[in-house]
């Protein structure tokens, strides 16, 4: 098929819209509600064009290309209507910064967005650095609006976990409703109200977690304005780090695009936008990484209390302390959340260095409280796995972990572990295939990855041969890796469709204890309306 756009003859494919053909050939037609993975909605009316033989101004996103079609995208009528349409959109949107003629000076003086409670302009909008509405407004050169503002002045909804909804910024493009429907069949976020009262929200104004939301965040990802936003990410600036990696939270193996600024991860989104993520992958990683009580420095018991020491001192202390427990009086307890390499190192340490048969790896889904084999007197724990009385019976406890636990209170030494996106190596997905884990950010404080700590310990125990061999093996393995990300998922991961399947613990710690929102995603009953009519 061939169609003509502005005198250029372009090849078109069956099923493509006029807009898609044009975009594929780098002919820009302004558009907002169109998104490549969604069926055309045709509501924003930005993509209007003239087509010979068709009355009026059809929307190019919802008009299928037909052989011989002659399209004009830049006639005077089209340009005027398009501009006026955007002016109308801006009437409901806080647009002072868009039409301010001191804009450039302001941008030069304060390029960063400024945090605020309620957004009243681009300068304090979470979307400031990457905004389609802003770009269009500047492209079309809008400087004045036809009448006064229709700012909605509605309540800013900040009560839901992870997702914030400021209805005052919404331009009602409908992408959120569409993507939610696309992923979950029945949309949770919908257009409600008519005419001037139209806005985006949940049916009956229920909270998201009483409306069936799985907190996949797809609506946030697609929202072209700052209306729907990620509470954690909203006030970060432009990412200075971008890494594509496997989600480290469960074995679904979703591929993430991770953004960081100044050594802090602030957002993780799905690499394959056609499938949703679960609330852990989408929202929980940044807050879990940076929760206040992370263990960040090696500490060793000195007298009555734990004292901060250097890694060298910590290794020596632990090596000396564990030396008497070689054999089956030693046990190591870990779960499957670490990389393949980390777990390999832990096993080698237990079986080869400590000569113990008690390498205990908790399976996912198991109640993370283990009973130790009889005779065990010393343990190395990578998480919160032991009950208090089990701990009491021990002579030595070494904690290699990320957050405080009852074990950490009884520990002889605490070795801070790098976790999640602070680690690199391989993760195994639900089908047993190895997937790459890339490091997106440096570890918190002085934390190190498990295998680095283990080789440090082995070295301190005087077994430099084993330590060197282990390090060498791991490095080559990562270097020569051919593992690939799941860039196209065949199906949505189970927890993304059913929040009750979301993993609740990491290294034995309740995730919700560190990130309360992660607990709040679980469905709640709809509140009974206070006034019964």
């Amino acid at each position: 098929m061939k169609i003509t756009v502005n005198d250029q003859v372009l090849d078109a494919n069956e099923g493509e819209s006029v807009l898609e053909v044009a975009l594929r050939h780098d002919i820009e037609i302004p558009h907002i509600c169109y998104h490549p993975i969604l069926p055309a909605n045709g509501v924003c009316r930005m993509c209007l064009v003239e087509i010979d033989g068709i009355n009026g101004l059809p929307a190019s996103c919802s008009t299928p290309a037909a052989d011989g079609m002659v399209v004009h995208t830049e006639t005077e009528t089209v340009r005027n209507r398009r501009r006026e349409n955007l002016e109308l959109i801006l009437l409901e949107h806080p647009s002072s910064c868009l039409v301010c003629y001191k804009r450039e000076a302001c941008q030069t003086f304060r390029p960063e967005k400024e945090k605020t409670g309620v957004t009243t302009g681009c300068q304090n909008c979470p979307n400031k650095h990457d905004c389609e509405v802003q770009r269009l407004t500047l492209d079309l050169g809008i400087t004045d609006l036809p009448v006064g503002s229709f700012y909605r002045n509605a309540e800013f909804d900040r009560d839901d976990p992870f997702i914030e909804n400021d209805p005052n910024l919404c331009i009602l493009c409908g992408r959120c409703e569409q993507i939610c429907q696309y992923h979950h069949d029945t949309p949770v976020v919908v257009l409600t109200g008519r005419g001037p009262d139209a806005r985006v929200g949940q049916a009956f104004d229920l909270p998201l977690n009483a409306s069936g939301c799985t907190f996949c965040g797809a609506c946030v990802d697609l929202c072209p304005t700052g209306s729907l936003s990620d509470r954690f990410a909203r006030w970060y600036g432009v990412a200075d780090g971008l890494v594509k990696t496997t989600c480290p939270f469960c074995d679904a193996g979703c591929a993430l695009e991770v953004k960081s600024e100044g050594h802090r991860v602030f957002s993780a989104t799905a690499l394959d936008q056609t499938k949703p993520l679960c609330a852990l992958g989408r929202f929980t990683i940044p807050p879990f990484l940076s929760s206040r009580d992370r263990l960040t420095h090696p500490r060793v018991m000195a007298g009555e209390r734990l004292r901060e020491v250097t890694w060298e001192e910590a290794f020596t202390a632990v090596a000396d302390g564990l030396a008497p427990f070689k054999g089956d009086t030693f046990a190591l307890v870990c779960d499957r959340s670490g990389t393949v390499e980390d777990r390999h190192a832990l096993r080698v340490f237990t079986e080869e260095v400590m000569d113990s048969s008690h390498y205990i790896e908790i399976e996912d889904g198991e109640e993370p409280r283990v009973e130790l084999p009889t005779g065990v007197k010393a343990v190395l724990l990578t998480g919160d796995f032991l009950e208090a009385d089990a701990l009491d019976a021990l002579e030595m406890v070494v904690v290699l972990d990320c957050y405080p636990s009852p074990a950490a209170e009884k520990a002889t030494a605490i070795l801070p572990a790098a976790i999640l996106l602070e680690t690199k190596g391989h993760l195994v997905d639900e089908n047993g295939v190895e997937r790459p884990a890339k490091r997106a950010v440096r570890p918190a404080g002085q934390a190190k990855q498990d295998h680095e700590i283990i080789t440090g310990l082995i070295t301190a125990m005087g077994d430099e041969g084993t330590a060197g061999k282990l390090t060498g093996e791991i490095e080559t393995r990562i270097q020569d890796s051919e593992a690939e990300l799941i860039t196209e998922r065949a199906e949505a991961p189970a927890p993304a469709l059913d929040v009750t399947k979301i993993r609740t613990r990491y290294r034995g710690h309740l995730i919700a204890a560190r990130v309360p929102d992660a607990g709040a995603v679980q469905p709640v009953a709809a509140p009974v309306p206070s006034e019964v009519v």
Binding site: P94, S95, S96, C97, L98, V99, C100, Y101, K102, A105, C106, F109, R110, E112, E114, K115, T116, G117, V118, T120, G121, D144, L145, V147, G148, S149, Y151, N153, N168, R231, F232, W235, Y236, G262, R264, P287, S290, D517
Partner: protein, 269 residues
């Protein structure tokens, strides 16, 4: 404890908070501010005194909701209490009959400029007041300005209310028309105060801007509120908050205000 007497939302992101603080109300003078702590553990936040009433023992703040502490404050309802109100702090303005005084306000400065204008009027000045806001529905206190001003102009950046543009544009236009202005006072965001300074400088009109760096103790001890004015280091809490706007290092002020941005973001959740 200090009782909140009223809490009124004046714009989508600002509240007028009236708090009982008789000692502050008794001694306040134009240009001063007070430090407020919502509870025993919260940050100490400076707010310009937007009004006070010795008779009822109350002071008025315009509070822009920006983050954790301001958010906690604006959620206090009448009858609730806040832990501390310390003030008045800072140097009162020098008040005399200068001739014509221009008051340029924006943002929370729409409230902060009121005592300045009122005092200047009482001292016999001709007072002109140009106030800017982002859009319709973000202006307030028109009646107050009218009570002390010889001319009031409201502007909005998007043109949805009053004249499209900034308050200082009106000043610039008046100066071009040949209107004589002897002194300018400006309260608002650093950018807007900087613009004001840029306009008045070629006309050599003494201009004072109320600086709003981060403050801690408010007594000149901690140095948190350090700013550079005319190549000298000043402490906004004791030497200011009003300084000669032509001498202020605006970029430094901007950077220092963003010093704790990581922490500010994290506590917002």
């Amino acid at each position: 404890m200090f009782r909140v007497v009223s809490n009124r939302k004046v714009t989508p992101n600002a509240h007028e908070m009236v708090v009982e603080a008789p000692e502050v109300a008794r001694t306040a003078q134009a240009g001063q501010f007070a430090l407020l702590m919502v509870d025993e553990h919260s940050e100490r936040i400076p707010y310009t005194l937007a009004d006070w009433d010795e008779a009822t023992g109350t002071v008025t703040f315009i509070v822009l909701e920006v983050g954790k502490s301001t958010g906690d404050f604006v959620h206090r309802q009448p009858g609730d209490e806040v832990a501390h109100v310390v003030g008045p702090l800072g140097m009162p303005l020098e008040v005399e009959n200068f001739g014509t005084v221009a008051c340029i306000g924006g943002c929370y400065g729409l409230g902060g400029i009121v005592p300045v204008g009122r005092t200047m009027k009482a001292a016999g000045n001709r007072v002109i007041t140009y106030v800017e806001a982002r859009m319709e529905g973000m202006h307030y206190y028109l009646d107050k300005y009218e009570s002390f001003s010889d001319e009031v102009v409201q502007t909005t950046t998007d043109g949805s209310n009053g004249i499209k543009g900034h308050g200082v544009d009106i000043l610039e236009a008046r100066l071009k028309e040949g209107v004589r202005v002897d002194r300018v006072f400006t309260i608002g965001c650093p950018f807007m105060m900087m613009l004001t300074a840029q306009v008045t400088k070629p006309h050599e009109i003494k201009t004072f801007a109320a600086l709003n760096p981060i403050m801690l103790d408010g007594t000149g001890m901690c140095g948190a509120c350090r700013c550079t004015v005319g190549e000298e280091t000043k402490f906004a809490c004791v030497d200011g908050p009003f300084f000669d706007a032509h001498e202020v290092d605006w970029h430094e002020l901007r950077d220092r205000r963003a010093a704790y941005i990581f922490t500010e973001r994290d506590v917002c959740k």
